[in-house]
């Protein structure tokens, strides 16, 4: 019997392997994943199309990873069911894998809303996996007119990735602004203007009413001709395995701060699972790579009998488009401090003596100092608030705090 079985091969799964190995150097690990590839970085697929990385460099860990970590892989095989009583995982090839501890790191899947006539579109793609990127790439030509449904992180990152290799890109979103999940109105306006300067066309507050082949009619009445369609309206946590096994699922798989689900010896981490967002005090799916790693690592440590808690989760995003960087973190709640000059934008949200969240566009240097204030729940009264508003800097801390940060081992 394998001591540990991991379903998934992306960030949370790799974090789990490294977490297990920090405690247990030789317990058998079996890793099962539906994709056939060596572990790769999902968010790098847009950089792949852009030519900023390649299939070798986008590997999330070196080729030697599984061998060095003593992991047996079963890649290209889907797990179909968990039996929490027998403590086994059934695979699509008929194999039954017994486990002592199981991690579910199944990620999320693109959500495709019902759209009339979608079946008549010949070249329609989602943008989530390496196979998605390869399929999209094969369909693109320098003459392609690309229609992207969704002005969120995935849709716009896709746009950036293919911008230089297609004739035009049009983006439609039912929201009234771009990146509505991470930006306020002002920030959104800056990013939209920047993207328009690079040739993107937006139809916001709008949706596709009907597709007819390469032709889309929007709710507003506008009509668009396109060659390639990308659907990027959002993702859904892949929770079916746990739900069908009787585990509790809300938006995502319910997991405590050690990664434990409501099923015995079954853990969950990454985009399929919820975590507790300390910036707003609620359980949420934080489908972000750093959170996936940390949640997976924590689960791994705990699965191997160690002590760890993933208790500093917050939403945080680093994203950029054609040279314009955007860093955001936390919750946009409370009083604000704001600066805007050209494409540079900063807004800090603070409440109850805590920094709750921020948006930085353009000048994003040292933003992690802000992020740490949110994660550590540092009382703002303990630092120089005026200085920290001006820019992220250690000068805003007391001499004692600085001594601890810079003169002692971290």
């Amino acid at each position: 019997m394998a001591k540990y079985v991991i379903i998934g091969n992306s960030t949370a799964a790799i974090g789990c392997v490294e977490g297990i190995r920090s405690v247990d150097t030789d317990g058998e690990i079996v890793l099962v994943a539906s994709e056939k590839y060596h572990t790769y970085s999902r968010p790098l697929i847009s950089y792949l199309l852009e030519g900023k990385t390649d299939l070798e460099r986008m590997k999330y860990r070196p080729d030697s990873f599984y061998a060095e970590q003593h992991v047996t892989t079963k890649l290209g095989v889907r797990a179909t069911a968990i039996d929490p009583t027998a403590k086994t995982v059934a695979l699509e090839n008929g194999e039954i894998l017994p486990y002592e501890r199981l991690l579910v790191a199944t990620g999320s899947t693109p959500f495709i809303p019902p759209m009339q006539g979608l079946e008549t579109v010949e070249k329609a793609f989602t943008f989530m996996s390496l196979d998605d990127a390869k399929a999209l790439e094969a369909a693109l030509t320098p003459e392609s007119r690309v229609l992207i449904i969704g002005a969120g992180l995935i849709g716009l990152k896709c746009a950036e990735g293919i911008e230089d290799r297609v004739r035009s890109i049009t983006v439609v979103d039912m929201a009234d602004r771009v990146l509505p999940s991470i930006l306020d109105e002002t920030g959104s306006g800056i990013v939209r203007a920047h993207l328009e300067k690079h040739g993107l066309t937006f139809y916001l507050n709008d949706t596709v009413a009907q597709f007819a082949g390469n032709h889309a009619t929007l709710q507003s009445g506008a009509t668009l001709d396109f060659d390639v369609l990308v659907i990027a309206v959002g993702v859904r946590p892949a929770t079916a395995l746990v739900r069908e096994a009787g585990g509790e699922v809300r938006r995502g798989i319910v997991a405590d701060d050690t990664g434990k689900t409501t099923l015995p010896d079954v853990y969950a981490a990454g985009d399929c699972a919820e975590s507790f967002d300390i910036s707003c005090g609620m359980n949420r799916v934080l489908a972000l790579l750093p959170n996936a790693y940390m949640q997976g690592y924590t689960a791994g440590v705990c699965m191997a009998g160690g002590q760890a808690h993933f208790d500093q989760a917050i939403p945080m995003n680093a994203i950029g488009f054609m040279g314009l960087h955007i860093l955001t973190a936390g919750t946009y709640d409370g009083e604000t401090y704001c600066e805007k000059e050209g494409e540079n934008y900063k807004i800090l949200f603070y409440k109850d003596d805590l920094l709750k969240g921020y948006i930085l566009i353009g000048d994003v240097a040292r933003a992690g100092i802000y992020t740490a204030l949110i994660r550590n729940r540092t009382p703002l009264s303990s630092i120089d608030f005026a200085l920290i508003c001006k820019k992220p800097q250690l000068m805003a801390f007391t001499a004692k705090a600085r001594h601890d940060l810079l003169s002692t081992k971290q």
Partner: protein, 143 residues
């Protein structure tokens, strides 16, 4: 493991550490070739005002959040040193988003750079430590 520690009591704010850092990482044979008429982009930076100043560079944390957060797998720990593989880095700035010290920044090529304790260049002692005229930057093992 030996790390870089700074003491603001002794820092003169002279910025020499920044110049030594930029030179050490330039791959050039002379300081003049490396730095003359160039805007330096060092991996150690002086912060401060007229009264207080101190140098900030990577702390080489034992549990580095940048390594855990890197979306490209470009950051890793090698013998305790937090290293960046610039060939893998795509310049997404996630490390800037999470580093509590503000110790990573873009290189002139757009991908990120960070202090690697001069393991690739000076050998022995980091250049900032060797160049500090007032011993405000120390390279030693602390518990």
């Amino acid at each position: 493991m030996k790390r870089v520690y700074v003491d603001e009591k002794w820092c003169l704010g002279c910025h020499l550490c920044e110049y030594y850092c930029a030179f050490a990482n330039s791959g050039k044979s002379s300081m003049i070739k490396a730095l003359k008429d160039r805007k330096i982009n060092p991996r150690i930076r002086i912060e401060g005002d007229n009264r207080i100043s101190f140098a900030v560079s990577c702390r080489h944390c034992t549990d580095p959040i940048c390594v855990k957060s890197c979306i490209a797998g470009a950051l890793s720990i090698r013998d305790g040193v937090v290293c960046i593989n610039q060939d893998k880095c795509v310049g997404c700035h996630t490390c800037v988003l999470v580093c509590p010290y503000g110790a990573l920044m873009p290189s002139d090529d757009g991908v990120m750079q960070k202090c690697e304790l001069c393991i690739e260049n000076a050998g022995g002692k980091p250049a900032c430590v060797q160049g500090c005229p007032n011993k405000a930057i120390i390279f030693e093992e602390r518990a």
